[in-house]
């Protein structure tokens, strides 16, 4: 019973840890990087060039704005660039954003750790990641130069003032992205004000994304059909997140299966000991008229009782631990750099979907039933005369 309890607690805890990491990564990807949906020119996703633009985005925005469950819509002008200081240079993706509308689609403003978000006090402000700032030896107040090709292929350059440093826990993202005002970038690129390279859409409830997709597809049917735009949800934009999610769930059940397989041997061993210890008792029951089927059932029920008691205890303890560490998180900042470098937060909040518990409970029951068959058969096949005189 104790083994079952500890085994299940360990298994569920481990799975909740892995699922928690993934869940956080997904939520961070939606809230800091991707938002729920993005709309692009169909060729933009294959070749992220400034010439692949969406014209007249306001007409699309009007259609989207009328839909329920909408938190916000924001336009972004995005372009690849070289970012330079006096000492060094690096490649980056420049995100030209409207600070206020961006607040409604991502939480990037909440990740600012030094300086401030675009507060309008400086000309040509820039938000730089901590990682990039370290690389460029820049800090709030530093000047950096962005150099990039415009729509016509001409190289344009401008100096920006670092007004804030952000940190998202995802080094891969932080290393690759800087933020500037969309107006500033549009002017620099001589970009049509009535165009955008990206429209980000954020929902109030991400869980209802599939309903929203259907509505969005209907609302934008004409633009989609004429291939003027392409609509992608966060998991289509980052399919690896979805794949990792599916693998984590798949391996969670494989892992639980392995644990239960090992526990099954423990159950068999325990029940065999119980049957051997009670050989005379079983002999007495057979002599006194207990049918073999009832003896089989007796061992079966006993095994189920022990396993289910241990299983329920394990599930309850796990649920409490998952709830507790889901609230407080497990701080792995000692390994922070390594974890951040693969895009995960160093504080892991445990998460286990509710359906995991009944499925594990069912797996425990099946394991217990299978594990009980061998000892129950042993008891069933006892010869009452030998059992009554057993001196083990």
């Amino acid at each position: 019973m104790l083994a079952m309890m500890i085994g299940l607690t360990g298994g569920i805890f481990y799975n909740a840890f892995m699922m928690g990491m993934n869940d956080q990564r997904n939520r961070a990807a939606i809230s800091n990087e991707l938002s729920d949906f993005q709309i692009h020119h169909p060729e933009y996703m294959m070749n992220q060039e400034i010439r692949f633009v969406i014209h007249n985005p306001d007409s699309l925005c009007c259609k989207i704005a009328s839909m329920g469950n909408l938190k916000g819509v924001s336009y972004r002008t995005k372009n690849s660039a070289m970012i330079k200081t006096a000492s060094t240079a690096a490649g980056t993706m420049v995100n030209g954003i409207d600070p206020d509308s961006e607040k409604r689609v991502t939480n990037i403003y909440q990740t600012v750790v030094e300086g401030g978000y675009f507060d309008g006090s400086r000309r040509m402000p820039m938000l730089l990641s901590r990682k990039m700032a370290e690389k460029l030896h820049a800090k709030p107040g530093s000047k950096v130069v962005l150099s990039m090709a415009n729509e016509k292929g001409s190289i344009v350059e401008a100096a920006f003032k670092v007004t804030g440093i952000y940190f998202t826990h995802n080094d891969l993202y932080d290393e690759a992205n800087v933020f500037v005002m969309r107006n500033d970038l549009n002017k620099l690129l001589d970009f049509d004000e009535n165009s955008t390279t990206e429209i980000a859409v954020r929902l109030i409830k991400t869980a209802e994304i599939e309903d929203f997709r259907i509505k969005l597809n209907l609302a934008l049917r004409r633009e989609l059909d004429t291939k003027k735009i392409v609509l992608q949800s966060w998991d289509e934009l980052e399919p690896t997140l979805k794949v990792i999610d599916a693998y984590t769930i798949f391996f969670a059940y494989i892992f639980m299966g392995i644990i239960l397989f090992a526990l099954a041997f423990g159950i068999i061993n325990t029940m065999m000991m119980a049957v051997m210890e009670r050989t005379r008792e079983i002999g007495m029951l057979m002599a006194n008229g207990m049918q073999r089927g009832n003896i089989f059932k007796m061992i079966l029920y006993e095994t189920l009782f022990l396993s289910i008691t241990g299983g329920v205890a394990g599930i309850v303890i796990s649920a409490v631990l998952v709830a507790w560490f889901g609230y407080t998180g497990i701080d792995l900042s000692i390994f922070g750099k390594g974890i951040n470098s693969i895009g995960y937060n160093s504080v892991v909040y445990l998460y286990a979907p509710l359906e995991l518990y009944p499925i594990v409970a069912f797996m425990v029951m099946v394991t217990a039933m299978i594990a009980s068959i061998y000892p129950a058969r042993k008891a069933l096949n006892m010869n009452p005369v030998e059992a009554l005189h057993y001196n083990g």
Partner: protein
Amino acid sequence: MAIIQIRDVYKTYDQGKIPVHAVNGITLDFEKGDFAAIVGPSGCGKTTLLNLLSGLDTPTSGSVMIGGKEITQLRSNEQIDFRLHHIGFVFQTYNLIPVLTALENVAFIMELQGVNKKERTEKARKLLGRVGLMDKLNDRPALLSGGQQQRVAVARALASNPDFIIADEPTANLDSKATAELLAIMREMNRELSVTFIFATHDQRVVDKATRVIRIEDGKLKDDMRQEQ
């Protein structure tokens, strides 16, 4: 009238190349109300004979009739059911269920018979009262002395209203006082309820109390003697 009729029963075990005739052509009848002791040296076949006449073991040849029914012809499940309703057992090592109280140990047999809870609890109390354990109803076997445990076993054996009770060395683990008390109880039940008791024993105290002494040697019946009590 004989309630048990054993006719020319043999039980042979194949131990290696040499067959062992544990019971070697025994013919015996037991009457209702017998208080019979089967005696003989160790390995003479006493326990084997008890196992045969209780249906726990099947004879190599011969016939065992109980209440006119040939039990060797019954299927395994029918034999078990037959034992439940017709035979009570008392074992040398008591074989009580350690997690049940004295009352539950006695009532348990009736539960197997399908007797309702109220009725079986009432009867178990009555039987335990008759064996002098009214104050130990809710004690588990571990809290009882050997003599008390064996008295619970006797009450359990009586609980199913059996035609006869088989007791294999029931006093082997008991001291003189407990043996005397137990024998007195069993004799009383034998007289009052007309339940047949068949003992396999080495114990002279049991032999002295028996109304019938059956002596077996090398699996054969040597002597069958009735004695006045």
